[in-house]
């Protein structure tokens, strides 16, 4: 029973004798193997750690277990929230939208506005036109967004709804009351059964950029467009801006969701920050466009490079080398010297790397996440002399595996570095048991791997639900590199303390100075 001066929640409550009895007693009714024959559970648990299990596991063709990817419209919602006063509108069932909003909200600890047009059985039969007519009107009336960015769920894709025609029909029927002529309703088809959330990012970004700029091609505006990609680190967007601003360059961050998911307390406004719609309309006239995530902007950048003929291209500013390349690209595009501010920042990062290198050097890492994130992170690990032993990407784009392999081949430990394209985190579990590493770098789903394999987890990635505020920091630019260095080094040191804290046995190595 609870004691009023020491009320405990489930964590400790259920450890009490009376509850342990309850749980033990319950087993007689359970038919799970743990209740019937615990030895058998242990035996199978041991088998899951074996090479035999690993081979069977890696041979899976159909079932995905504990994936490290999500579906297209999630990325589309992120894009929409990066434009000023823009409502993400998902054409399909509202269940999907409840999921997108919960998912982002759990990660950012921030509200995530997004509407759906709540299609049900009748829409599945007759199409979602009437949902869209009502939905766009209601959305505009209630939330008064400057733009509505429409993406689709797999339901709408399977029945083949035509977004462009539907949006036009909605405007026509509304007669300009809530949806005036020229009111921007941008759209993208984002089928969940193709690619992943980063494909959806690409499709929505392509949709907004191509549709807003229709008929806008004119004089060059002297600006550089920056596309952050599916960026879940708010601080990274700000770091990138600071670098561009250090060059004094005029720029447009296309899809700038930093302020949307980082609102101050005090009052609630549905939308904050974002790329101004007018600036977005003019993005076709920029001098250059730089995408910070190649695999999240394949289609978008094809348009920008082939049709718009923009200079720029890809640059991944994670780690020292990545940031150097980004900085040099800006120097080239602006024709300016690298500013002193950045030179100092770089020097500080290198100084810190040289201070801490013994702790990461030679350490084996397992890492998973989106393809561009992995390229940047692995590059940084290599810069520190670490060994990225298992690099796993559940949603690699075309060419990613080769690019990652080439990167790993620059390591002296290349032979021990493995690339796992299209694999999931249950595969990772087998890899960790059979070819163990010192640390893992990944998202909250790594927690179960940490529990099962005992490998310490360093939280970098998306989603992170069970550690707070990491997303507010940067992992890009020189300052972002410093954050990564700090998090990883200190986790190595925490682990070292953990392993050396036993009194009169290991604690001779429990140094106060490291």
């Amino acid at each position: 029973m609870q004691e009023v001066e020491n009320i405990v929640n489930g964590q400790k409550l259920f450890l009490r004798e009376e509850y342990q009895e309850v749980l033990e007693n319950k087993k007689q009714f359970e038919g799970g193997m743990g209740a019937i024959n615990p030895e058998k559970v242990e035996e199978v648990a041991e088998w899951t750690k074996s090479w035999d299990y690993r081979e069977k596991n890696l041979a899976r063709e159909a079932i995905t277990v504990n994936p490290a990817k999500a579906c297209q419209p999630l990325g589309a919602v992120m894009v929409a929230l990066g434009f000023e006063n823009t409502m993400p509108y998902v054409h399909g069932s509202h269940g999907c939208v409840a999921y997108f909003r919960s998912y982002f909200t759990r990660h950012f600890k921030e509200p995530t506005p997004c509407v759906s047009d709540s299609m049900t059985e009748d829409a599945a039969v007759f199409g979602g036109l009437s949902n869209m007519k009502d939905g766009l009107k209601n959305c505009a009336a209630l939330y008064k967004p400057e733009m509505i960015a429409v993406s689709t769920t797999c339901m709408a894709e399977v029945i083949g709804d035509d977004l462009f025609a539907f949006a036009e029909a909605a405007k026509e029927e509304d007669g300009g009351e809530f949806l005036p002529e020229g009111y921007p309703i941008t759209y993208a088809h984002t089928p969940s059964f193709t690619g992943s959330h980063i494909t959806g990012y690409d499709n929505m970004m392509h949709g907004i950029m191509s549709q807003l700029t229709e008929g806008k091609k004119g004089e060059k505006n002297g600006k550089i467009n920056i596309i952050p990609g599916f960026e879940t680190y708010i601080g990274s967007i700000r770091s990138v801006k600071a670098i561009v601003e250090a060059f004094g360059a005029e720029y447009t961050m296309l899809g700038d969701h930093a302020d949307q998911w980082d609102m101050p307390a005090g009052d609630y406004k549905m939308f904050a920050g974002g790329t101004p719609i007018e600036a977005a309309k003019d993005c076709i006239n920029a001098e250059a466009t730089i995408s910070l995530q190649k695999y999240s902007t394949v289609k978008t950048m094809k348009m920008v490079q082939k049709r718009w003929k923009h200079a720029g291209g890809f640059s991944n500013p994670i780690g020292l080398k990545g940031t150097d390349e980004f900085v040099m690209k800006l120097a080239e595009l602006t024709g300016k010297e690298v500013p002193q501010k950045l030179k100092i920042e770089r020097g500080r990062l290198v100084d810190a790397m040289q201070d801490s290198y013994p702790y990461m050097h030679g350490k084996k890492f397992a890492i998973w996440g989106d393809p561009d994130f992995l390229i940047g992170m692995v590059s940084f690990l290599l810069e520190m002399g670490a060994e990225p032993t298992h690099v796993l990407c559940n949603n690699p784009g075309r060419g990613w595996e080769e690019e990652m392999r080439a990167l790993l081949d620059t390591s002296p430990a290349a032979a021990d570095c493995h690339v796992w394209a299209g694999k999931d985190l249950w595969h990772m579990r087998s890899l960790l048991f059979t070819q163990p590493v010192d640390f893992m770098i990944g998202n909250s789903y790594g927690k179960e791997l940490m529990r099962d394999t005992g490998t310490p987890l360093i939280y970098v990635g998306f989603p992170i639900f069970d550690r707070h505020h990491l997303h507010r920091y940067s992992i890009s630019g020189y300052d972002g590199g410093l954050n990564l260095l700090t998090w990883i080094t200190n986790k190595v040191l925490d682990q070292l303390d953990e392993e050396t804290k036993d009194i009169a046995s290991t604690d001779y190595f429990f140094d106060v100075v490291r």
Partner: protein, 490 residues
């Protein structure tokens, strides 16, 4: 409070909210909003609201889908079975391990609740159908997870649209292997909310667990006169455990938990219990009614939130049994009373008169009202994501004062109601949490217990009281205004 009464303010708020809508939507939403009076016999449902209808398109509804109702609520917590999210990758990922359905087991070996199994549909599966892939998925699961006691196939939207026959595929595989394979046609577009998913899932329990006579491990349980099952408790934060202990203390034998920390065997042997105890009426009344009709098992609803309702429920349950149980029931009540008094004495003075607005799903919009009132808090608004008329009828008996009732409330409305009625605490879900916290309002998630709990039973009430005090009396809410801001400035 101004000169207007609470009821007047509530009615004005409803009128005000409706003004923002286009005509058609306003007409629709007007039927879902109302003000309920505790003594108002003229009301058919609480606040006379209409429910279980299609959501107005284009608003920010908090509702989920049928898949969420089946995989996320009813089937997902059954721990010794593998639940496949059948279709594209997203649904399973977004619903992975978010509901805190606690269980004991070796995850990945004999239990699987927090994992995500997905058939990860690709375009070719949409074009050519996914039945072959499903068979392969079932085979691979059995090969790699040999201690699973069955597999459910939770359909995502495309399955029903592309004409896959998961029923035939599952049946064939079950025939070959003798395994329990449960196909669930819970495509997200079916129905208007999670609710139909609950119903569909209940029906599959009937068809595949009761009528399917699944193979189960171990010996069968010899029935006793005191056997009961807990139905509609998902063991969020351990709720079913802090309920179970009370039932056992009063001499009952809890044979099954549905479906938090449940096993297939527990569900299968429920048909032999003497009484079904139904907590979440909305999600599991269907199977309870079926067991009543088919197996003659009566069911009663109970409420283990807050001591007043807990005591009432314990007595109601005991009344079904002999005097021995009834006597023990009184002993249980007497045993916990000093603790309850101590908790109430400590926290009531800190919470007295604080006003609360709720928006949740299932049973909570009415069931938790008593727990707040036990602490002297006043619930002035409540509503359900996916309730039916029978829920709103039941709500009439649970409210203490004039209460604004909002069915399927959306972001815009809830924000407007809160601004207008200015409660001291908002209690709802993750999607709304930070909206209200930004306004400086204390907030508790009432789906996940905000990562605390359990809240059921006596021990749960103590945690509930402590958590509400934590939220309302935390110093952090006082920091919103900077010292250089003048009075009245936000």
């Amino acid at each position: 409070m101004g000169p207007e009464s609470l009821e007047e303010r509530q009615k004005a708020a409803v009128e005000e909210v409706l003004k923002a809508y286009p005509e058609k939507a306003a007409k629709n939403r007007a039927k879902h909003l109302g003000v309920g009076g505790p003594e108002d016999e003229s009301q058919k449902t609480c606040g006379n609201v209409r429910s279980n209808k299609k959501t107005v398109p284009g608003v920010m509804s908090q509702r989920g889908c049928a898949y969420a109702g089946s995989k996320g609520v009813v089937w997902g917590p059954v721990k010794d079975m593998v639940h496949i999210s059948h279709g594209p990758i997203g649904c399973g990922q977004y619903s992975r391990a978010g509901r805190r359905n606690y269980y004991i087991g070796t995850t990945g070996v004999d239990t699987f609740v927090t994992m995500n199994f997905s058939s990860d549909f690709q375009e070719k599966d949409i074009v050519f159908g996914g039945d072959k892939k499903l068979t392969k998925c079932l085979e691979e699961i059995d090969a790699l997870f040999p201690l699973n006691n069955g597999i459910t196939v939770q359909s995502e939207c495309p399955i029903g649209l592309i004409g896959d026959d998961i029923n035939a595929t599952s049946k064939q595989y079950a025939k070959q292997t003798g395994q329990t394979i449960v196909p669930v046609n819970c495509e997200g577009f079916r129905g208007v909310s999670q609710s139909l998913g609950h119903h569909i899932a209940n029906d599959t329990v009937r068809d595949y667990v009761f009528d399917g006579a699944p193979k189960v491990l171990g010996e069968s349980i010899e029935p006793t006169e005191y056997d009961v099952a807990i139905i509609g408790d998902y063991n969020i934060g351990g709720d079913a455990w802090s309920s179970r202990i009370l039932l056992e203390e009063m001499g009952l034998r809890v044979v099954a938990q549905w479906s938090g920390d449940a096993t297939l065997k527990e569900m299968a042997q429920t048909t032999k219990v003497k009484l079904n105890l139904l907590h979440c009426y909305r999600s599991m009344n269907y199977i309870s009614r079926h067991m009543e009709k088919e197996y003659g098992i009566p069911w009663i609803e109970y409420n283990f939130f807050g001591p007043t309702q807990t005591i009432k429920s314990l007595r109601k349950i005991a009344a079904f049994f002999d005097e021995g149980v009834q006597a023990k029931c009184e002993e249980v009540i007497a045993k916990y009373q000093p603790m309850v008094d101590a908790v109430t004495n400590k926290y009531r003075p800190r919470l007295e008169g604080k006003q609360v607005m709720l928006f949740v799903g299932g049973l909570r919009p009415r069931h938790v009202i008593g727990a707040y009132e036990d602490l002297g808090m006043e619930v002035i608004g409540t509503g359900y994501e996916f309730a039916h008329d029978d829920d709103y009828k039941r709500t009439k008996d649970e409210i203490f004062r004039s209460t604004v009732i909002y069915d399927d409330v959306n972001e815009y409305e809830l924000e407007a109601f809160v601004k207008k009625l200015q409660p001291d605490l908002v209690a709802s879900g993750i999607k709304e949490k930070y909206v209200f916290q930004k306004m400086g309002l204390p907030y508790r998630q009432m789906h996940s217990w905000d990562y605390s709990g359990p809240y059921h039973g006596y021990d749960g009430f103590a945690i509930f009281a402590k958590d509400m005090d934590l939220a309302i009396n935390s110093p952090v809410w006082g920091h919103s205004k900077a010292p250089w801001e003048s009075e009245g400035e936000a």
